[in-house]
């Protein structure tokens, strides 16, 4: 393993992030605060407790997931698309490094950034609502796993994308709807039965449910199922990335 290279890529990417640290933090903090004002205070005051938790607190895990998932994907997809776009990818291809090292560097940095932002949102949330975390270790583990798996997915999107529109397309058309319909703002049990069944095909449901369990000890689906789902998702992403590197698809002619 060329760990020096992994470290170089990681640091290089993190420097880019810290160069624009203000806007990296302000926008998620602002949007989360708005969610709390709109959903938590305005609408939430008219909603009773959900599964024994005040509505304002209930949406916290979903909000964090929403940001963490979008951030992981956009950081990782942009991180690897950018060198392709401006041509600096030649350096990665001609260096004595393998795919695993490239993935570790880029995905590691993207996941770290998302984790950082997820933590900031959690801190912001403490200013708006009372929350206690039932299973802190599980909460952190879920957060980290989510960051990594969606950064892997973002990496695949970045390799696949041929232009900036495509780079935005998947997050916009697939990920955002899945996250919104994944129970960020409601419990699946609040849906009509048909939609409950349909929701079971949405992988994000398992994530948010598991994450919420770590906070409140209540879940839509069994925690083990959540773990299996996120494990399977990570495995699929890893498999795809392995195939990409094996074939040089969209990278090396």
């Amino acid at each position: 393993m060329n760990w020096t290279a992994v470290k170089s890529i990681y640091i290089f990417e993190m420097t880019r992030f810290f160069r624009t640290i203000a806007q990296s933090i302000i926008s998620p903090v602002l949007s989360t605060s708005l969610y709390f004002v709109v959903f938590g205070a305005a609408i939430g005051s008219r909603i009773d407790e959900v599964e024994g938790v005040s509505y304002g607190a209930f949406i916290v895990p979903g909000l964090i997931m929403l940001s963490v998932i979008t951030q992981s994907i956009s950081n990782a997809s942009f991180g690897i698309y950018f060198p392709k776009f401006i041509g600096t990818i030649f350096e990665l291809l001609s260096a004595p490094i393998n795919f695993l090292e490239i993935v570790l560097g880029y995905v590691g940095a993207a996941a770290t950034k998302a984790l950082f932002i997820g933590t900031i949102i959690l801190i912001t949330a403490f200013f708006f609502v009372d929350i206690s975390i039932a299973h802190p270790v599980a909460m952190v583990a879920f957060l980290i796993l989510t960051c990594i798996s969606f950064a892997l997915m973002g990496f695949i999107i970045g390799i696949w994308a041929g232009n900036f529109e495509q780079l935005q397309l998947v997050p916009l058309l697939i990920v955002t709807p899945l996250v919104f319909l994944g129970g960020s703002f409601y419990s699946i049990s609040m849906l009509p039965p048909v939609w409950q069944v349909i929701s079971m095909f949405n992988p994000v449901v398992y994530l948010i449910s598991g994450f919420r369990w770590a906070f409140f000890d209540t879940a839509d689906v069994p925690i083990l199922t959540s773990l299996l789902a996120i494990g399977a998702f990570t495995a699929i992403c890893l498999g795809l990335i392995w195939w990409i590197f094996k074939t040089g698809w969209r990278i090396r002619e």
Binding site: N2, S8, F12, R19, I86, F90, S94, R252
Partner: protein, 309 residues
């Protein structure tokens, strides 16, 4: 000693089926400067990209110091530095950071002294904290060279290092290349400027349509194919060459003011003495005598045309 870089039967077909390299064989000697000449689209960049791992070869092998560039890519690529034809740099990055990054990518531990040496060598030291976008085109090209040298490669590829570079900077570049050669780096460069190959290369390769047409010592190439011309300028223009001087080696300039004699420098006799005494015997008065060596350019144009014919 075996060649430092050994290219055998190298072929490259792109996804669209276009065959950009049609079986290239080339051995590069340790410490030499090889210049690759060839028209646009000849396959120069493809050859370099295929050696450096940017594209995969369709057939054939390349070894660097005996390490296969595909099977043993870590060892092979560690020896190689690449300065690409296009200026591909991150605009917002600082010069020194991007150079340090390149060294790290190649797995070498940080070495501020080496980075400083490289930046100074390329006159970039006082720009080390500038953002790339604030540099001129020539400086950006030097940043690319600094990045390629950051990991102390033994083999350096320069893909058109002086394209779009002014005369002064081109001379600087030649000096840099000469300095690297003195440090023992083997250099392969591509260029469209024949005088550049003439000025700095030890050997010259000509490539066209994916085939290496020739590789030869520069001096041998010029001697083999080089011919000299002697121009005898006259005070009084002539209408025709006088009977006594008639020869297939002699021609008259279009305005009749000069006799042009073509000869081979390596011949037993050049025939110059004889010519001049005949000229004197004819009573012609000389204004000046000029000699010209045919350049690589003539050779190059001849070769590429021959190939097209």
């Amino acid at each position: 000693m075996p060649p430092i870089l050994d290219i055998r039967g190298l072929r490259k077909s792109y996804d669209d089926g276009f065959e950009a390299l049609k079986g290239v064989d080339l051995q590069i000697e340790r410490g030499e400067i090889l210049a690759l000449l060839g028209p646009n689209g000849a396959g120069k960049t493809t050859l370099i990209s295929t050696i450096c791992g940017i594209t995969m070869p369709s057939a054939g092998t390349v070894t660097a110091e005996g390490h296969d560039t595909v099977a043993d890519y870590r060892a092979a690529r560690s020896l190689i530095g690449l300065v690409p034809q296009e200026i591909n740099l991150e605009p917002f990055e600082k010069v020194i950071k991007t150079v340090q990054f390149s060294r790290g990518l190649f797995g070498k531990p940080a070495d501020p002294a080496h980075i400083e040496k490289v930046l100074r060598q390329l006159s970039l030291w006082d720009k080390k904290d500038s953002q790339i976008r604030a540099l001129s085109g020539g400086m950006k090209r030097r940043v690319l060279i600094a990045k390629a040298l950051a990991h102390e490669p033994r083999i350096l590829f320069l893909d058109e290092p002086t394209a779009g570079v002014d005369v002064e900077l081109r001379k600087d570049m030649w000096e840099i290349v000469a300095g690297l050669k003195a440090d023992g780096v083997t250099i392969i460069l591509t260029t469209h400027y024949i005088e550049e190959a003439e000025a700095i290369a030890d050997r010259i390769g000509v490539i066209a349509k994916g085939e290496l047409l020739l590789v030869e010592e520069k001096s041998a190439l010029m001697a083999r194919m080089g011919q000299k011309q002697l121009e005898v300028q006259l005070t009084e223009p002539l209408d025709a060459i006088p009977e006594a001087l008639q020869s297939d080696k002699l021609s008259l300039s279009p305005d009749g003011s000069a006799l042009i004699y073509t000869y081979d420098t390596r011949g037993e006799r050049t025939g110059i003495t004889q010519l001049l005494s005949k000229v004197a015997a004819e009573g012609l008065v000389l204004r000046d005598v000029v000699t010209r060596q045919s350049s690589l350019e003539d050779i190059f144009v001849g070769l590429v045309h021959e190939d097209a014919a």
